[in-house]
Amino acid sequence: MKIRTGFVSNSSSTSFLIIAKEDLNQADFFELMGIEPDSPIANLFEQFYQAVIQSIDTAIDFKTVDKQVPAESLFEGEWTDYLSSHMITKIQDAKNHGLKAYLGKLSSDENLVECFFCTDSFEVENEKIYFNGLECVW
């Protein structure tokens, strides 16, 4: 398990990159976050999970993608400006291993919970999922 935390201010939205072995599901998300499903504060992470799912802009299954195509070129449009070299390395690695990648944006204009996680800055990883919530987007 890796964990990196911090705080970003003056952010109206934050892009995220998730790389997973399987389709995203709440059980794996809770395991990644380190919270039990019957936690008395599970609602906070249920809302976080729902915000993430509803904010996914692009989803790619690298098992179905031509290996000759550069990984970063699969995320077109505005995403080319938002991908850090660290994210591109992670996407390239996901491609090499035939994993799934999800890109999206959380917004501080939505509900309290999404606003909180949008303005937090973190990078977490376990054996099933990698979640990069470090990059700020205006």
Partner: protein, 158 residues
């Protein structure tokens, strides 16, 4: 061994202004105070029994060293190490200046009489009364109160 005034203060049954003695219980109460003149959200947390960080994380059912574990550890630190504990503050610094705890909370914090009465009736049973100004965005309004109530008084208590 040195015993502070706070130690005895926390252990003794509380006497209200009506001289009604209420024995300490394990019940925790959360009282939202709204926003102060600096637009900071404030909440009173009245604890029936002390809780350490390990028990706090255990009750929250989060794993130490994970994102949720770090978030809850930060919340614990904010509540218990970076907030003002009113009984301690009163006993150590204001007991001479203000004859009663009522007078202390009314004059120092300018709480309304309704809040002061709430403290008398319900919060007097506690071992700690914490004046908490959360920095976590989601700890406001009804959601924040419900979150803290679930956290401190979960259904199916351990």
């Amino acid at each position: 061994m040195i015993f502070t005034l706070h130690y005895f203060f926390a252990k003794l049954p509380w006497k209200t202004k009506h001289n009604t003695i209420i024995a300490p219980t394990n019940k925790t109460f959360i009282l939202p105070l709204g926003y102060d003149s600096s637009h900071r959200n404030s909440i009173l947390i009245s604890l029936g029994a002390p809780i350490d960080e390990s028990m706090f994380l255990l009750k929250a059912k989060v794993k130490r060293g994970t994102y949720a574990g770090e978030l809850l550890a930060n919340l614990y630190d904010e509540i218990f190490n970076r907030s003002l504990e009113l009984k301690y503050d009163y006993a150590d610094y204001y007991a001479i200046e203000y004859g009663t705890f009522d007078e202390y909370v009314r004059k120092r914090f300018l709480f309304t009489l309704e809040i002061v009465n709430d403290i008398n009736v319900r919060f007097a049973q506690s071992c700690q009364i914490i004046y908490f100004q959360p920095s976590f965005h989601f700890l406001i309004e009804d959601y924040g109160v419900e979150f803290l109530e679930n956290l401190f008084e979960p259904r199916g208590e351990l």
